[in-house]
């Protein structure tokens, strides 16, 4: 019986530890303590922009082109409503595909990068070196990364949605061509509004926040040499993928579950 309970107890203790860690990092950003390292925050923001923007937008473009563009054309054509491809494209991009693809690529590119970098710093005593220099390493390494994410990622996400839209427009109007540009855009814009856009940004930024925090947790607490860092990276990726899907599901349920916000039937 004891061994049966050991695993859930361990899992619960681990979850509590992660939650506590995340709470401290969020507090350091929220209270402005992170501003003591504003230069490092800007450096991290620069790293995010330079090394992550293109790869995220590229994946979003492919998704906007395929699942949200070509699928929209053929599905609506099959149901005899090709003029309504814009509905499919608007909902697919804004509500589901862009947030999920955003979460996947952010987990793979940024999340694992943070685990590997902080984990390597941990096993080579660099984090201890920071501490003994009188620098709060959690604020310096984790809070700065979260602050940088909050500074940069909303804009990157908003632009990513635009990239998805552009890809779907290209696929539906120019590649498949069952609907004219004007016809597509009329329906496309009718089936979304600024509130939907805000909900989508909230979804994407919630994912981003958890991805950064999970990366920081596993990297900062890595141990056991290079093998340990590898394990921590894998664990963070698994947890992030689960969280991305959970947040996506809950976001859809909360924002559009009770009211689909569709301009149909008055």
């Amino acid at each position: 019986m004891g061994s049966l309970l050991a695993m859930p107890r361990e899992w619960l203790a681990g979850s509590g530890e992660i939650a506590r860690f995340m709470g401290i990092v969020v507090r350091d950003v929220w209270t402005g303590r992170v501003l003591g390292f504003f230069g490092e925050t800007l450096r991290q923001a620069g790293i995010l922009i330079i090394y992550s923007t293109l790869v995220i937008w590229s994946l979003v473009f492919i998704t906007g082109l395929g699942p949200c563009g070509i699928e929209a054309s053929y599905f609506n054509e099959a149901t005899g409503t090709p003029a309504y491809s814009g509905v499919f494209a608007a909902w697919c991009n804004l509500r589901e595909a862009v947030p999920i693809v955003w979460g996947y690529m952010l987990s793979a590119k940024v999340g694992t990068g943070i685990v590997a970098e902080l984990g390597a710093m941990r096993i080579s005593d660099e984090i201890d070196a920071l501490e003994v220099m009188g620098i709060n390493s959690m604020t310096f390494l984790c809070a700065t990364r979260l602050a940088a994410a909050w500074l940069v990622l909303p804009f990157m996400y908003i632009a990513a949605v635009g990239v998805g839209y552009l890809a779907s427009y290209i696929a539906i109007v120019h590649q498949v061509g069952y609907v004219s540009s004007g016809g597509f855009l009329l329906i496309f814009w009718q089936f979304q509004n600024p509130t939907d856009y805000l909900f989508s940004v909230i979804k994407g930024m919630t994912m981003a926040t958890f991805i950064i925090l999970v990366g920081c947790y596993y990297g900062y607490n890595a141990g056991g040499g290079p093998v340990g860092v590898g394990r921590a990276t894998a664990k963070s990726m698994v947890l992030n993928l689960v969280l991305v899907n959970l947040i996506s599901m809950m976001g859809t349920q909360i924002f559009w579950g009770g009211n689909p916000r569709a301009p149909i039937g008055g």
């Binding site: 080579s124 005593d125 501490e131 009188g134």
Partner: protein
């Protein structure tokens, strides 16, 4: 603690090792900058420090020596507050480390310099930026003044021409010297060296030891060197604490320890294979 010679009492004196773990602490004539008071520390079932009583005197180069896995590096982590004792106290410059708040501890740590085993340089920063890092974080000095200090310290450790190099372009010895330069830039009152000789050839070890002595002669302060290299101890140490199984075998001025009658101390300081210390 270092004012009189005393014998540490033990409750488990019937164990065979106990006759060597005398805990004799010889008078140094100066107050201690760092004191361990009956410190116990375990990692899971591994009981590393088992009632450690040790004083490291002010203004001297102290060496903590002992076999591998005996808790030497754990001592350094207790001094800087990276680890806390399960029982007992660690007192640095009159402050009880486990009792300090985070803010007080971070403030106290600015008086420390630490040279980690591999230098612990930040991989994303150049050598120059690594050494300048503590100055930029903790002082209001301008870049010109920082450059003057950094270049002086780098020159002092023989890396005056390498300041634009990245840590992965440096050899092990260079990384240690760079770590030394970084540890020195804030003029610390206490400087800790975690096995500065590990991975270095004998000549570079000797040169690093000379460097430690020179810098100490120039700057003063309490230097604590952790090593199991006896040649380094002979070259540098003014005070030696011999650690074994998480406790002090004997501690005191270097010349007294080299003349010790304790069989364990004699064996360890002469590097002989015959004696109380085996392969186990």
């Amino acid at each position: 603690m270092a004012t009189e010679e005393r014998q540490r009492s033990s409750s488990d004196g019937d164990r065979p090792d106990e006759e060597f773990l005398t805990g004799v602490i010889r008078d140094t004539g100066v107050p201690d900058a760092i004191e361990f008071v009956d410190v116990h520390k375990s990692f899971g079932k591994n009981h590393v420090l088992r009632g450690l009583n040790m004083g490291l005197p002010e203004g001297k180069i102290s060496m903590i020596i002992g076999p591998s896995g005996t808790g030497k590096s754990v001592c350094i982590k207790h001094i800087v507050g990276l680890l806390y004792p399960d029982e007992g106290d660690v007192i640095v410059k009159g402050h009880s480390i486990p009792s300090l708040s985070d803010g007080e501890l971070f403030k106290l740590r600015r008086k420390f310099g630490v040279l980690f085993q591999d230098g612990a340089l930040f991989g994303s920063l150049s050598l120059y930026d690594n050494v300048a890092f503590p100055l930029r974080q903790h002082t209001e000095k301008g870049e010109d003044e920082i450059a003057e200090i950094v270049n002086r310290r780098l020159k002092e450790v023989g890396l005056g021409d390498a300041n634009e190099k990245m840590p992965n372009e440096l050899s092990g010895g260079m990384r240690k010297r760079a770590g030394f330069a970084r540890a020195l830039v804030l003029d610390p009152e206490i400087l800790l060296f975690d096995e500065p000789d590990s991975g270095l050839d004998p000549v570079r070890t000797a040169l690093l030891c000379e460097l430690i002595k020179e810098v100490h002669a120039e700057n003063g302060g309490c230097y604590v060197v952790i090593t199991h290299d006896i040649m380094s101890a002979r070259r540098v140490a003014e005070h030696i604490s011999v650690l074994w199984k998480g406790r002090i075998v004997e501690s005191g001025p270097a010349q007294d320890l080299f003349a010790s009658e304790n069989p364990f101390v004699r064996q360890f300081l002469s590097g002989e294979s015959v004696g109380p210390l085996g392969m186990e």
